[in-house]
Symmetry: C2
Subunit: 192 residues, 2 copies
């Protein structure tokens, strides 16, 4: 296997460190130390920590648990539930720490970095769009209420998920996940 480039090592290390410690709390110095690369090499690859932050969010969003579809032939709401279930299982495995890096970066940096805010916005919009598509399919098959605006309910469900992940980090239990699955799938999206 070819040795990963210095740039690649920095991105992968920063992803772990930003997720674990937060963006502000994590200096360029700490990242290069954890990556085992000279501090001076950082600025050969990135103009700023912010540029690295944007790349890390994009990397995290491009390879989400979300994209694993355990059974693409299952009914659409079952697929939606399974995808959220995979993300829940990852967070249970992390003992409810860390949460979603996209949400964390948005919460922490939306007011402070135009570039990070734009990247988080792009990723959340794409994610909502994928949810809306499954809701549309469920409506077409008669398994979700026909009267719901699929785009609006998809944005709401994703926002509710982000708040659920936050609550889970705070409570350190799976209760917020149970609340989410029951309310979204048994109440909100259940066909009359």
């Amino acid at each position: 296997m070819p040795r990963p480039s210095v740039r690649e090592v920095i991105v992968e290390t920063a992803l772990v460190e930003f997720h674990r410690s937060g963006y502000s709390a994590c200096s360029v110095d700490a990242i290069t130390r954890a990556a085992g690369v000279p501090k001076g090499s950082f600025y050969n690859h990135f103009r700023s920590k912010e540029e690295l932050g944007v790349e890390v969010i994009g990397r995290y969003a491009a390879n989400p648990e979300w994209s694993r579809d355990p059974d693409p032939s299952a009914p659409p709401l079952q697929r939606l539930r399974a995808r959220f279930g995979i993300m829940r299982d990852v967070m249970v495995g992390n003992e409810f720490t860390r949460g979603c890096l996209i949400g964390n970066m948005g919460s922490e940096q939306a007011d402070h970095s135009v570039a990070i805010r734009a990247e988080v916005d792009t990723d959340l919009t794409a994610w909502s769009g994928a949810i809306a598509e499954l809701v549309r399919q469920a409506q077409a098959g008669g398994t979700a209420p026909a009267g719901l605006d699929p785009d609006r309910v998809a944005r709401f469900v994703l926002n509710a998920w982000q708040g659920t992940v936050l609550r889970t980090k705070v409570v350190r239990s799976g209760q917020a996940f149970d609340d989410f699955f029951t309310t979204v799938f048994d109440d909100l999206l259940a066909a009359g």
Copy 2:
């Protein structure tokens, strides 16, 4: 008017600064400078920045927009909607920046400070409880679906609100608020 104590000036300044800049990004030095008090005086009043953080969250939670009830004689779901509406109006006034300090502190510090996590947990639990009480009243009056577990739906609604506030910070528009009000009050809590 008596001059506020140094301690009080530090707490009120820190509330503004943590809300504006985030907790990690805001040093004790920056707080005492913004407060116009000697840096050395800080440790006469607080053992640590963390102790100050806990007090600031409690202060923010104890005097929420939430507690203003524009019309206590209105039907319960109208009161619930009005309270969320007051918080939305504050955030619109802030041009969608800052968000909710309780959610921000939870997102940023839940993994790093046991004391801050506990304070955020306490405040969110009290807040959910107040929502549940209004849902219960609405169910008793026949204006919310009888089949919903009021405690579960209240936790979910609060989590959805926190995610909504986060999305609003990222998108810098009121769309997430509109999504929240429509989905929660017209779909989820609407009596069949």
